[in-house]
C-alpha cells in the first residue's frame, strides 16, 4: 500500500506535516507555511522484495532471481523512498534578501522495497 495504515506492517509511506509556525521558523521562511516530511517505514519480507510500491515489473525480476537462486533470508530488502518531488522555498537570508529556490528530492511521494 502506498500510505501506512493500522492493519499492515508492510513497507509504506508515513505522512507527517511540519508547520513552520510550530518550529518558530515562519519569520524567515515566507512560503510555504510548512511541508510534508514523509518517511518510509515497514517490513520488506522476501516475497515483496523489489516491489517499488507502484509498478511491479522490478519485483517480478527480483522474485524470480530469489526463486532461481534459492536465496534464503540472508539478504535484506529495505523499505526506501522510490519517488520524491522538489519543494519550492521563498525565504529571507541573513542579509534580509529574499531568496527563491527549488530544493530537489525534498518530499517523499512513494516507498518500496529495495
Amino acid at each position: 500500500s502506498l500510505r501506512c495504515s493500522q492493519n499492515s506492517n508492510l513497507c509504506c509511506r508515513k505522512d507527517y506535516y511540519v508547520d513552520f509556525r510550530d518550529i518558530g521558523w515562519n519569520d524567515w521562511i515566507i512560503k510555504p507555511e510548512g511541508y510534508q516530511i514523509n518517511y518510509c517505514v515497514g517490513q520488506c519480507p522476501l516475497h515483496v522484495a523489489g516491489s517499488p510500491g507502484m509498478a511491479s515489473s522490478f519485483h517480478t525480476a527480483v522474485f524470480n532471481l530469489v526463486k532461481a537462486n534459492n536465496i534464503q533470508a540472508s539478504g535484506h530488502s529495505c523499505c526506501v523512498p522510490t519517488r520524491r518531488r522538489p519543494l519550492s522555498v521563498l525565504y529571507f537570508d541573513r542579509n534580509s534578501n529574499i531568496v527563491k529556490t527549488d530544493i530537489p528530492d525534498m518530499i517523499v511521494d512513494a516507498c518500496g522495497c529495495s
Partner: protein, 221 residues
C-alpha cells in the same frame, strides 16, 4: 520514545519532536545554511509584496531539461541601503551571502528605482548607473558604467534598469558587498530629488541565477 514514561501521547510527542528536528536539519542542509538566518532588519511588508510581484512578472520558466541539469535555479531580491557619496551621486549598497565554492551564473539582473521626474522637464536629463569598485571607491574611483537612460517628463514611478551582463563580474568574484552609484546629467534636478530611496520606496535588485553546487557530480555518482 523508549525513555518516555508509559503514556501514549508521550510517544506521539517524542515522534513529533524528532520529526521537527529532522525537518530543521534537512532544510538547513538543502539550503546550504549553517544555521537559521537571524534577520538583520525587518523588511516592510509592502516592499516585500511589491518586489515579489516584480519577481513573478519576470519568473524564469523551468526549461524541459532543468531537472537533469546539475545546476540549481535561484531568484533573489536584494533591498538597497542608500549610501552618501558626492553631491551629484547617490550610492546604493547591496549585501550578499556567498558560499565560497558555489559557481554562480547570472541569467537576469534588474535594478528597480522609484523615479520622480519633474513634470515641467524641458531640457534633457540622463540617469547613469555605475558599478563601483571595492570599499570607498564610490567617489568617481574605478567605476564601470552599467546603464544609461534619458528620462522623459512622463518617466516617474517604478522603473527597471537591466544590469545583467556586467553584474556577472561581481557575482563571479569574492566580494559580498555590491556598490552601485547613480548619477544624473542635465539640469532637471539632482539625483536625490529624482530617485526616491526612502524606506517606503527602497530601491531593490531582482536577479535570477543558476548555481553549480560543488561536488554535485560526486553526489550523483
Amino acid at each position: 520514545a523508549a525513555a518516555e514514561p508509559r503514556c501514549p501521547s508521550c510517544a506521539a510527542g517524542a515522534e513529533r519532536r524528532l520529526l521537527e528536528e529532522a525537518a530543521k536539519r534537512q532544510l538547513l542542509e538543502k539550503l546550504r545554511l549553517r544555521e537559521r538566518p537571524r534577520l538583520a532588519h525587518a523588511v516592510p511588508r509592502a516592499a516585500v509584496a511589491r518586489a515579489l510581484r516584480r519577481l513573478q512578472a519576470g519568473g524564469a520558466r523551468r526549461g524541459p531539461d532543468d531537472d537533469e541539469e546539475e545546476e540549481r535555479g535561484y531568484e533573489i531580491i536584494s533591498f538597497a541601503e542608500p549610501e552618501p557619496t558626492s553631491p551629484s551621486g547617490l550610492g546604493l549598497r547591496f549585501q550578499f551571502s556567498r558560499t565560497q565554492d558555489q559557481d554562480v551564473h547570472i541569467l537576469q539582473a534588474q535594478l528597480w528605482l522609484y523615479l520622480r521626474v519633474p513634470r515641467d522637464l524641458v531640457a534633457s536629463l540622463t540617469l547613469r548607473i555605475f558599478l563601483a569598485g571595492g570599499e570607498g571607491d564610490l567617489v568617481g574611483g574605478n567605476r564601470t558604467l552599467l546603464s544609461e537612460r534619458r528620462l522623459s517628463a512622463k518617466g516617474s514611478g517604478w522603473r527597471a534598469f537591466t544590469l545583467t551582463p556586467a553584474l556577472q563580474s561581481f557575482f563571479g568574484g569574492e566580494r559580498r558587498t555590491l556598490r552601485l552609484e547613480l548619477e544624473s546629467r542635465g539640469n532637471g534636478g539632482d539625483i536625490i530629488a529624482i530617485v526616491n530611496a526612502s524606506r517606503s520606496h527602497q530601491p531593490f535588485l531582482v536577479a535570477k541565477a543558476k548555481v553549480r553546487e560543488p561536488g554535485h557530480h560526486v553526489a550523483k555518482r
